[in-house]
C-alpha cells in the first residue's frame, strides 16, 4: 500500500521542528479563540493570515488548520461552564454539558468533550487520509435534490430532539425557519422579513443568535435570583475526569458521532453545526434513557462533540481535492493557499504532496497536542465556577458584547444578540426549548433553497426527488424512521382496542 508511504512521508514533514512549532501555536490559538465566545476560527485565521505571508507555506497552513480544529476543542468549554457556546458548532454541547456542570460534574463533561474531540479528530484525519479522493467524487454527486432530501432527514431527526411539549417545539422550529429566511432571497433577490431594515438584508447571524438565546438569557435569569438563593454550582465538584460508567455510556455515541460528522462535514453549509444536532437527536433516539437528555446525560456531550470535530476533517476534502471550499474557514484557507502559490484542486496531491500529506499528518500530532493541552486545563476552567457571580456575570456579558461586535465590526450584531438574549429569557420563563429553533434556523433556509433549485432544475416536476438514486435512498430512510416512530403507537392502539373489546 503506497498510502502508508505517503503518510510516513507526511509525518516526516510534520515532525520538522518548525512545523511542530507552528502546529502547537495553531492549536493553542485555536483553543483560546474557541473558549472566547463570538471570536471564532474565521476571525482568528483571517487576522493571522497576512502575518503568515513571509513564513514557510506548509508551516503556515499547518498552523491555520490547527486554529480551526483547535477551536472545536475550546468551543465546548464555555458551553459547559456558563451555557455560552464558544462558537456555533458547540451549541448542542450546552444542552447537557451545562446541566452536568450544574450538578457538579463540570470536570467529567469537560474531560469527555476533550476525549471525544480527540478520538473523533483522529478518526476524521484517518478518513481524510484514506478516503479523500473517492469521497470528493461522491460529494460532487450531491446536487440540490440530494441536499433537499438530506435536510428533510435532518428535520425528521429534529422531532427526536424535542424535549417536553411537542407543540411548543414545533412552534419554536417554525420561528427558527422564519428567522433563517430573513434577508435577500437567493432565487429572486427580494428582501424577506427585513421590515426595510438594511441590517437584516444579510440575514440573522447564527453566532449572535445562539450567544443571545443561550448565554445572555442565562445571565438575565441568574441576575434575577437573589445571591443567597442561588443554587447553581453550590454542589461539590465531583471528580475531574469521566468515570468508567461515563465511558460506557459515551463510547457508542462517540463513534457514531465521528462517522456522522465526517460525512456531513464534506458537504457545504454548516456541516459541523448540523452534524452535532443530528448526532444529539440520534443518541437521544437510541438511548435507553432518553428522558435524561437535557438533564445532564454525558452521551449528549460525547456525541455532538465528536461530530463537530470529525466534521472539521471532512471539510478539508472538497477544499484540498477540488479547490471548492465548503465553509468560511475553508474559503480563507483557499485564499491562503493561492497566495502561497499552491492552489488547491485536482492537481494538489500530485504537485504539492508535502503540503497535502504534511498537513494531514500534522493534524494527528495536533490532536495529541490538544489533548495534552486541554486535560490539565480542566482543573483551571472548573475554578472559574468559583468566581463570585457579581464578578463573573459582568465579565461574561463583556466578552459576549466584544465577541458579537468583532464578528463583522458591526454594532448591529450587538443589538441582535441582546434582542435574542431577551427572547431567550422569555422562552426560558415560559419553558420553550431553544434547540429546535436553532436547528430549524440552520436547516430551514438550506431546505428552502435546495427545494427551489431542484424544481428549477426539473422544470417544476417533483419527480426529480424520486428518479435520482441517492435521493431515493434518503427518502426511503426517512420513511423507515417515521414508520419506526409510529409503530409503537399503532401497537398501543391495537392493545387498547383489544382491551376495549374484552370490556
Amino acid at each position: 500500500m503506497d498510502i502508508f508511504d505517503h503518510i510516513f512521508f507526511g509525518f516526516g514533514v510534520a515532525f520538522q521542528p518548525v512545523n511542530l512549532l507552528f502546529c502547537f501555536t495553531g492549536v493553542l490559538i485555536g483553543t483560546l479563540v474557541g473558549v472566547l465566545p463570538g471570536l471564532g476560527p474565521v476571525a482568528a485565521i483571517s487576522l493571522l493570515l497576512p502575518a503568515t505571508f513571509h513564513a514557510p507555506p506548509v508551516a503556515s497552513i499547518i498552523m491555520l488548520s490547527g486554529i480551526y480544529y483547535g477551536a472545536m476543542y475550546g468551543g465546548s468549554t464555555t458551553s459547559i461552564l456558563v451555557n455560552i457556546p464558544g462558537e456555533a458548532a458547540s451549541v448542542v454541547t450546552c444542552f447537557d454539558g451545562y446541566q452536568m456542570a450544574r450538578r457538579g460534574r463540570a470536570g467529567p463533561a469537560l474531560g469527555m468533550a476533550a476525549f471525544a474531540s480527540f478520538i473523533a479528530g483522529t478518526l476524521g484525519v484517518i478518513g481524510l487520509a484514506f478516503l479523500a479522493p473517492p469521497l470528493a467524487a461522491i460529494a460532487l454527486k450531491f446536487g440540490p435534490p440530494e441536499y433537499f432530501s438530506l435536510m428533510v432527514l435532518g428535520l425528521t431527526v429534529l422531532t427526536f430532539l424535542a424535549g417536553g411539549s411537542m407543540l411548543k417545539s414545533l412552534m419554536m422550529a417554525s420561528i427558527g425557519v422564519i428567522i433563517g429566511n430573513v434577508g435577500l432571497d437567493l432565487i429572486t433577490a427580494q428582501p424577506r422579513f427585513t421590515f426595510g431594515l438594511s441590517i437584516l438584508l444579510d440575514g440573522v447571524g447564527l453566532v449572535p443568535l445562539v450567544m443571545g438565546l443561550f448565554g445572555i438569557s442565562e445571565v438575565l435569569l441568574n441576575v434575577e435570583q437573589r445571591l443567597s438563593e442561588r443554587e447553581v454550582f453550590k454542589t461539590v465538584l465531583k471528580g475531574l475526569l469521566p468515570t468508567l460508567r461515563d465511558w460506557k455510556e459515551s463510547i457508542g455515541p462517540l463513534l457514531r458521532g465521528s462517522i456522522l460528522g465526517f460525512f456531513l462535514g464534506i458537504l457545504p453549509g454548516g456541516g459541523a453545526v448540523i452534524s452535532s444536532f443530528v448526532s444529539y437527536g440520534l443518541e437521544k433516539r437510541l438511548s435507553k434513557h432518553p428522558e435524561e437528555f437535557g438533564k445532564g446525560a454525558i452521551a449528549g456531550v460525547a456525541g455532538p462533540e465528536s461530530a463537530n470535530n470529525s466534521a472539521t476533517a471532512g471539510a478539508f476534502i472538497p477544499l484540498l481535492t477540488l479547490g471548492l471550499p465548503s465553509n468560511a474557514v475553508m474559503a480563507i484557507l483557499l485564499g491562503a493557499l493561492m497566495i502561497y502559490g499552491m492552489p488547491p484542486g485536482p492537481k494538489l496531491i500530485s504537485s504539492h504532496p508535502q503540503l497535502f500529506w504534511g498537513v494531514i499528518s500534522s493534524m494527528y500530532i495536533g490532536n495529541i497536542m490538544l489533548l495534552i493541552l486541554n486535560l490539565p486545563l480542566i482543573g483551571l476552567w472548573v475554578k472559574i465556577l468559583k468566581i463570585p457571580y457579581p464578578i463573573l456575570f459582568p465579565l461574561i456579558l463583556l466578552f459576549c458584547l466584544i465577541g458579537a461586535y468583532s464578528l463583522n465590526n458591526n454594532p448591529a450584531e450587538i443589538g441582535l444578540m441582546l434582542f435574542f438574549g431577551l427572547l431567550g429569557y422569555l422562552m426560558k420563563k415560559f419553558k420553550y426549548d431553544g434547540a429546535p429553533l436553532v436547528l430549524a434556523m440552520v436547516l430551514g433556509p438550506l431546505m428552502d433553497q435546495s427545494l427551489r433549485q431542484s424544481l428549477l432544475m426539473s422544470g417544476g416536476s417533483g419527480m426529480i426527488f424520486f428518479t435520482r438514486p441517492i435521493c431515493l435512498v434518503i427518502f426511503v430512510v426517512i420513511g423507515l424512521i417515521l414508520l419506526l416512530s409510529v409503530l409503537p403507537l399503532i401497537g398501543r392502539m391495537r392493545k387498547t382496542m383489544d382491551e376495549m373489546k374484552e370490556v
Binding site: 487576522l47 440540490p144 433577490a189 428582501p191 471548492l324 433553497q449 433549485q453 428549477l456
Partner: protein
C-alpha cells in the same frame, strides 16, 4: 478657479489644524498655518498640500471579509502605500449587503481622505438596481468619489471537459435549437455573471434556466457534478480548468483574460456587452481633489511592486490601474446600462409582483 482651489486648501489645512490639541500646539500650529496659507496663496501649488496630507493615520475599510481575495490584495498594497504616505493605514473589514454596507458606513464620514473604503464598482454601478442600498440609489456618485482601482474581477463561462460543446458558437446553437434544455448556475440573481446570460437569452431568443447558488464554489460544483450544464462565474473554475476537467468557452470581460489568452471575449463574438466590476477604493464625496490625487498616487505606486503584482497574479486579479476621472465615467455608464437591462428583464427593484 485658482482661487477656489486655494480656498479649499486653506479650509482643509484649518480643519486639519482644529484636531491638534493643547494651547502650545495650537500656537505653534497656528503660526505654521498662517505661513502655509501664505504659501498656498502665493504658489497655490498642489505639492505644498501633499506635504501636509496625510498628517495622521488613515482608516481603510474593506467591504469583504478578512481573508477574501479583495481583502488580501488590499492589505498587500496597503503595506507599501503606508510607507509612501509616511502614515499608518489601518485596514479593517466591514462586510455585508454584497459590499454595499461599507459604503453606508463611509457616507457620513468626514470628506478629508482619512476614511476610505475598498469595495467593488458594482456597488455603485449595478447593485442600486438590484436591492435597497444605504446611500443615494438614483445617483450614487453624489455620495462617493472613486480614488483609484488596481484590479478587476474576471468572469467566464465554463462547461465540463467531457461536454460536447467545444466553442461558444456550438453552445449557443445548441441552446437556440433546444429551448429549456440548458441550465446554468451562478452565485446569485442580479450578479454580472447572471445578467450577461439573460442578455444573451434576450438577444438570441434563447430559453434557458437559471439555477442560482449561495456561493461561487457551489455554483462551480453544480456544473462539475452535472446538476447543471454550464456555469457562468468568477474564476472559481480556474483549478478545474487548469486540471483539464473543465473548459472555458468565453470570457465576459471586455478584453481577454491575461491567464487564458486563447479564450475569446463576448465582444469578439459580436455582442456589444461586457461584464465588469473593478476593485475600487472610495472616499466620501467632496473629498478635496488634491487629497484624492495624493492617495491615488500612493496606492498606484504601491501596487506596482513585484511582490504585490505576484500576489494579484496568484489571486487571478489582473494588475490594471484606473484613476478617479476614468472610474467616474465607467461607473456612470455601468449604472445606465445596468439600469436599462434590469428594467427590461424585470428583476431587482424593477420586479413586478
Amino acid at each position: 478657479m485658482n482661487l477656489s482651489v486655494a480656498g479649499v486648501n486653506v479650509w482643509t489645512i484649518l480643519t486639519l489644524n482644529k484636531q491638534s490639541e493643547g494651547k502650545e500646539a495650537f500656537m505653534k500650529k497656528g503660526f505654521f498655518t498662517i505661513s502655509l496659507i501664505l504659501v498656498v496663496i502665493v504658489f497655490n501649488s498642489v505639492e505644498v498640500f501633499s506635504d501636509t496630507f496625510p498628517s495622521k493615520p488613515i482608516n481603510l475599510w474593506v467591504g469583504w471579509g478578512a481573508g477574501s481575495g479583495t481583502d488580501i490584495s488590499q492589505r498587500a498594497i496597503t503595506e507599501n502605500a503606508s510607507k509612501a504616505l509616511k502614515q499608518p493605514i489601518l485596514v479593517s473589514n466591514v462586510t455585508g449587503g454584497g459590499g454595499t454596507l461599507v459604503l453606508g458606513r463611509l457616507k457620513p464620514e468626514k470628506a478629508d481622505g482619512y476614511t476610505l473604503a475598498n469595495t467593488s464598482s458594482a456597488t455603485l454601478g449595478r447593485i442600486p438596481h438590484l436591492q435597497p442600498v444605504p446611500y443615494n440609489a438614483q445617483d450614487p456618485l453624489k455620495d462617493f468619489i472613486p480614488v483609484m482601482s488596481y484590479s478587476y474581477y474576471l468572469y467566464g463561462l465554463a462547461v465540463k471537459s467531457d461536454s460536447t460543446w467545444k466553442t461558444f458558437e456550438e453552445f449557443i446553437a445548441y441552446a437556440k435549437a433546444n429551448p429549456g434544455k440548458i441550465r446554468y448556475s451562478t452565485s446569485g440573481v442580479g450578479t454580472g455573471q447572471h445578467l450577461v446570460m439573460e442578455y444573451l437569452a434576450m438577444k438570441e431568443n434563447i430559453k434557458w434556466t437559471h439555477v442560482p447558488f449561495a456561493t461561487s464554489p457551489q455554483a462551480v460544483a453544480a456544473a462539475m457534478g452535472g446538476h447543471v450544464e454550464v456555469v457562468s462565474q468568477t474564476p472559481e473554475w480556474k483549478e478545474q480548468v487548469d486540471a483539464g476537467q473543465m473548459r472555458l468557452l468565453v470570457c465576459w470581460n471586455d478584453k481577454r483574460m491575461p491567464f487564458y489568452p486563447g479564450v475569446p471575449t463576448l465582444k469578439e463574438k459580436g455582442y456589444d456587452f461586457a461584464v465588469q466590476a473593478l476593485i475600487v477604493i472610495y472616499a466620501p464625496a467632496n473629498t478635496p481633489k488634491e487629497v484624492v490625487a495624493t492617495l491615488s498616487k500612493a496606492f498606484r505606486q504601491a501596487s506596482e511592486t513585484e511582490e504585490v503584482k505576484q500576489i494579484l497574479n496568484r489571486l487571478s486579479y489582473p494588475h490594471d490601474i484606473k484613476e478617479s476621472e476614468e472610474l467616474i465615467q465607467i461607473i456612470k455608464k455601468d449604472y445606465e446600462v445596468n439600469g436599462k437591462l434590469f428594467k427590461e428583464l424585470g428583476i431587482g427593484i424593477y420586479k413586478k409582483n
